[in-house]
Symmetry: C2
Subunit: 442 residues, 2 copies
């Protein structure tokens, strides 16, 4: 593990690869080498005995088997729809689904489709929302460009930015999400040192984020758009709003998106997915794009895969049209809320008496974020992770992976605990094991 560890220590800031340092590979390949996603997946494969509080997978028991059976059957029974599903589609995706998504989005925002202020051609369907994140970064970021991110943030996204030789700069955040005054301070500091033209993007997971399940407070959403607009003097700085967990609210009321505060629909890209709220195996995500980004994103997507699978797009459209989608999301919320409660209760039971151990009980999403006393090393390649995996057979996502910046500044005392994939009983057992490992470290 330690041998690979060195590969990411400089992941956040030092992205320079000497040109020609390995003649076989492109610089892009070298920037993407030793990614943490691959490492975490390998850990899971190498340690099947582990209870996984790490995996961001969805609960296998909640997967929409019946809904998919019915939707598939109906889709394929309709001759012309079946043929469209089996044929090439356009790069931007099936019109039928994009029309439905306009209504779906209007429902989430609590407005009519007319009030959305966009047309269906501003919706682009992608292979999960991950592909949209990747293509948008490719569209905007040159090597050494800057993307501002809430700290901590979705670690896979940090890999995307690093993989383009660009820099992720962390913005302080609290239980209300990214702190807007910190964002403004950083933008001002970057302007002062002449780096503002390098800033192309601000990334935020707006609802029940990854890794902490905190949501950006509503007033901050409006402020975010306003501040970024104020610093977009020489060129537009875009905001990438990743709303992957938008549908997974349990206690909280859903909020209007950051995107909804962008009155002119020119600065915010809204990324959503049906991976968390329906089925990740279908890999259907979508982006709502400012008009000027539609061409750039579809040009790149055309080169990369022509377009995502029509079959899956028509299948999801059928599930929505036939009323199979929404009831599934309702059931999902109830299941995850109960699992969240079970995981939170287990943490209280097994770690409630340990001073300096803190955690957030989230109102939605799939994760509980825990911090240990400073000085305890829960990080990647650290002793707790090794003890947890090797001795206690329980796995978590080391929180340091979720922080941008160089190794020496990234806190190593955080843990992301997922209640996504395991059963309630195994969640409790996982925490019992993890607590033993933590106590042994203290």
């Amino acid at each position: 593990m330690l041998a690979r560890f060195s590969g990411v220590t400089d992941r956040g800031l030092d992205t320079t690869v000497p040109p020609g340092s390995d003649g076989r590979w492109s610089r892009r390949r070298q920037w993407a080498a030793d990614g943490v996603v691959g490492f975490m997946m390998k850990q899971a494969v190498d340690h099947p005995e582990c209870i996984s509080l790490a995996a961001g997978l969805v609960d296998p028991q909640t997967l929409p088997l019946e809904a998919t059976r019915e939707a598939t059957q109906r889709m394929l029974a309709d001759e012309s729809r079946a043929r469209a599903a089996l044929q090439y589609g356009t790069t931007e995706g099936a019109q039928r689904l994009r029309d439905l998504l306009l209504e779906y989005l209007a429902g989430l925002e609590g407005v009519s489709t007319d009030q959305l202020g966009i047309t269906p051609d501003q919706l682009v369907l992608t292979t999960g929302s991950q592909q949209l994140l990747s293509i948008l970064c490719e569209t905007l970021l040159d090597p050494d460009d800057i993307c501002l991110v809430a700290d901590p943030t979705y670690y896979v996204f940090l890999g995307v930015v690093a993989g383009l030789g660009a820099r992720a700069v962390p913005i302080e955040s609290d239980e209300g999400g990214m702190k807007i005054e910190s964002l403004e301070e950083t933008l001002q500091a970057l302007r002062d040192c002449g780096d503002l033209p390098r800033v192309k993007l601000v990334y935020v997971v707006s609802d029940h984020d990854n890794p902490r399940s905190v949501s950006l407070e509503t007033p901050r959403r409006e402020q975010l758009v306003e501040v970024v607009s104020r610093y977009s003097t020489k060129q537009q700085i875009f905001i990438l709003e990743d709303a992957a967990y938008r549908e997974l609210y349990y206690d909280a009321s859903p909020r209007p998106s950051v995107w909804s505060f962008d009155d002119r629909r020119q600065s915010v890209v809204l990324a959503q997915t049906f991976s968390k709220c329906f089925s990740p195996g279908l890999r259907v995500g979508f982006g709502v794009l400012p008009r000027e980004l539609v061409g750039p994103v579809t040009d790149l997507k055309g080169n990369e895969d022509f377009g995502s699978a029509s079959f899956n797009q028509y299948l999801l459209a059928t599930a929505i049209e036939e009323g199979l989608f929404h009831p599934h999301v309702q059931r999902l919320r109830a299941t995850y809320a109960a699992k969240r409660d079970r995981l939170a209760a287990a943490v209280t039971k097994y770690l409630g008496d340990v001073e300096g151990v803190e955690w957030l009980v989230p109102a939605g999403g799939l994760y509980i974020w825990m911090t240990l006393p400073e000085g305890v090393d829960a990080g990647w390649g650290g002793t707790l992770f090794e003890r947890a995996v090797d001795q206690e057979q329980v796995m978590y996502v080391p929180g340091d992976l979720c922080h941008a910046g160089s190794d020496d500044v990234r806190p190593r005392n955080g843990l992301r605990l997922s209640f996504g994939v395991e059963t309630p009983d195994r969640l409790e057992l996982g925490v019992e094991r993890l607590a033993r490992a933590i106590r042994a470290e203290l």
Copy 2:
């Protein structure tokens, strides 16, 4: 049309974009701008009245509706398979399908799976083979790097290379495919001028290629591997063998792949797809990779989409396991062979008496390549294309798009005529209309 035309005139050679020439976009976006794929798709959408001898789509009447119905039903009836299909998979794709593809590949090569000399982990599943082409280029090509291509070649691939700021250098080819002595001359010339370290890749569509439906002669396959190996002194030059049309042989016997001549399995990447031989709407392609490329390709794919849709991979695996795939391919061959005959007969009927009009009747694939007398402008933005589309309502792919190199050296008297999508009667009607347009130009 002419306004956009300027966007690709320098597509082959001059890939330099002044850094910061448009602060909003990355260089990558600028290289990918005004891609010809988007243009051709837009032409199709804007001119629905046209008979399409252009589209590389598959015949809608041949799409495997019944096979897909049955495979889907069986897959979803199996509880554990259904859950796996609906869940996230690994980046490299479903093991079940990869195991089957090892057998499938052995069948195509006419050997046992043991004799293939690879393990299933060298097979990576992608979103069509297009994604493999794109990721492989990203893995290998830096800006200004060189990819050698048969001339003419698959025009979408030229867009991929240009989209990375790299250069496609054309290699002369004849009815036996890429001429190996021309390849060697070019490699030697590049070595002489010090550019050999820039050469990372040789791209060839080995069977019934796009746009001419010619196949690389078997002896040349072995020579190709040998010559490239001889010039791989400082670093490995890889060969990308695109075998998208491998299953679509009508008269000819199938050949062993170029890949099969790479005894050490270290220089050839074999790209295949189920888009042409089963369903493009599923977007299932795969690559057979030299061992050292597996990590680089999956690292990049992990960043770009985690992995392609599990659902489609399990669906295809089921179709193969249940014996639904192979009979479909048999039927497909018969259908396409008949359509090829009809298109070829129509060309003879309507253009057989015109001096200087020549065409190849292919033994497989989806295209008839036609050349007009030199000086007739059949190219993009030229008068024939405009006349064909606007006055005669018939569309083809202008052959100049399929040539690498700068505008002034690319021949403009070639046409790619597809017999993929239209019915036999409309194929004949299309040629009748095209012949009128051609005669008017002469």
